[in-house]
Amino acid sequence: MKAEVEILYPGLFSTIQDFGRRGFQKYGVPLGGVMDRIALKTANLILQNQADAAVMEITQMGPKLKFSAATKIAISGAHLSPKLNDTEIDNNEVVKIHEGDILSFGRPEYGMRSYLAILDGFKTEKVLGSRSWYEDITSHEKLEKGMKLQYEASEEEKYETHAAIKFDEEYLNSEEIEVFPGPEFEKLPETLKSHLRQSKFSIDKNNNRMAIQLSEILENELEPIITGPVLPGTIQLTPGGKLIVLMRDCQTTGGYPRVLQLSEKGINMMAQKKAGDKIRFKSPPTPKGGEALS
């Protein structure tokens, strides 16, 4: 049976996301997809959904949602004090929804982005192989008041609730972000290399799904490069000396030197950082993506 989530209040910035678009980078289309894949996988696992079922990505100030029919949900990632009707609910557990229930969010406790999974995923439009919202590709860019999002209602008891799965939330708060050297790392002077290895950096207020700037200014003498490929997790050094961490909605090519490249876990961790948070770069324990940052 078709059912809908009605957006009573949109909150700050929420979108529908899955793993993103594959096969369209060559046309300049960003990969997109959830900023934090760990949280997407966790929320879908709890509901025994397909790993890539579409979820709602909620940034800091959550929306207020009304469900038209029974289903189940699970929330993972950042803790934004979710409430079902008037009762506080926890992250990382199955929550039963009845017709007319209202889900809202309160004070952000920790993390930047929270993920709302629903049984069998949101059934919004699929464009170029993905339901991930992106300007001009999908009809919507972010939640708006009055919008209605489709899902499949489900009364039946599909399974028993997981009792024993433990979710490691350490990644939400850790300051240590895993990186590999980027294509232009070796061109950096030694002083800058060791600065990148040892210093703490802070998340700038200038951050979104495309990129996260770091506040510190570095001395940069590197020339721009011939425009080349970039990926989510590529860290560029601008002529002005700023580090820019490219995220899921980043462009497919860029002309700034690519000094570092985040590990997959590192991207997920960055997705949970807020303006003012501090980070430090470190090499992953097993450098399977290449040499260590030594």
Partner: protein, 243 residues
């Protein structure tokens, strides 16, 4: 000894293959040839290969199990390959209206470069531009071949909004904004053609290795073409290119 191509991991889901740091058609031909080889070699479901001026990026859907095995396999593949001709290339003829309404910076370019507006249009419509790759925005073509006489620096203050279809120049590059966006290029006209349509397969008809040539149209013709495009009756003029 030649150190290129340089093959290195780019994070856990990418392998970057870098060639000589230059921008040339010869290198583009080589890149596209290797790109075809890689696409044949890989299961396209799990891997996407993109090219830029002097790099190929193999972008994997999942983390690479053993990156060094992967790199050896690519080296072997490249070692065996004898560079031949790449796929059929096409020339696309693109209408551009250079009239005042669209040519916001024609006046400025004319003063800076000491060229009349007619000369600017002539210099801009003359070359067969080479499409090196698509990037920056969905459907944005990186074109090579701009006449040196038209090379001009970007605006000091980028504009907050450049119209969809705007044709501009920034340093030695010329191109078309496929959608409205902030930008710093000097704008000399507008091209009504749709460069990216998510409902088409592929969504972008023009691809790396193709050529484009601009032709000047009047405001009336521009409007006529725009109407045909919105009705879906416009036929882009194209022909095979024998390089």
């Amino acid at each position: 000894m030649n150190d290129f191509p340089k093959i290195t991991p780019m994070g856990e889901r990418g392998i970057l293959i870098e060639f000589e740091p230059e921008i040339s058609e010869k290198l583009l031909g080589k890149l596209l040839f290797y790109k075809d080889k890689l696409e044949e070699f890989y299961d396209e479901v799990n891997v996407e290969v993109i090219n830029t001026y002097n790099s190929l990026l193999i972008s994997y859907m999942f983390s690479i199990e053993n990156v060094y095995n992967e790199i050896s396999a690519i080296k072997e593949l490249f070692g065996e390959a004898k560079i031949g001709k790449t796929n059929n290339q096409q020339i696309f003829h693109l209408p551009v209206c250079y009239e005042e309404e669209f040519g916001w910076d024609l006046e400025y370019i004319s003063k800076e470069k000491k060229l009349s507006k007619e000369e600017i249009v002539e210099l801009h419509t003359k070359p067969f531009y080479t499409v090196f790759f698509t990037g920056f925005l969905p459907g944005f073509l990186y074109l090579g071949g701009l006449d040196e006489k038209l090379q001009i620096s970007r605006k000091d203050q980028p504009r907050m909004k450049i119209e969809k279809g705007a044709v501009g120049i920034g340093e030695n590059q010329t191109g078309i904004y496929p959608k409205s966006s902030p930008g710093g290029w000097q704008i000399l006209g507008n091209c009504p053609v749709q460069f990216f349509d998510k409902n088409n397969d592929p969504p972008c008809e023009i691809s790396a290795g193709d050529k484009v040539k601009f032709y000047s149209v009047s405001k009336e013709e521009f409007e006529e073409i725009s109407e045909q495009i919105s009705e879906g009756t416009f036929q882009l003029k194209k022909e095979n290119y024998e390089g």
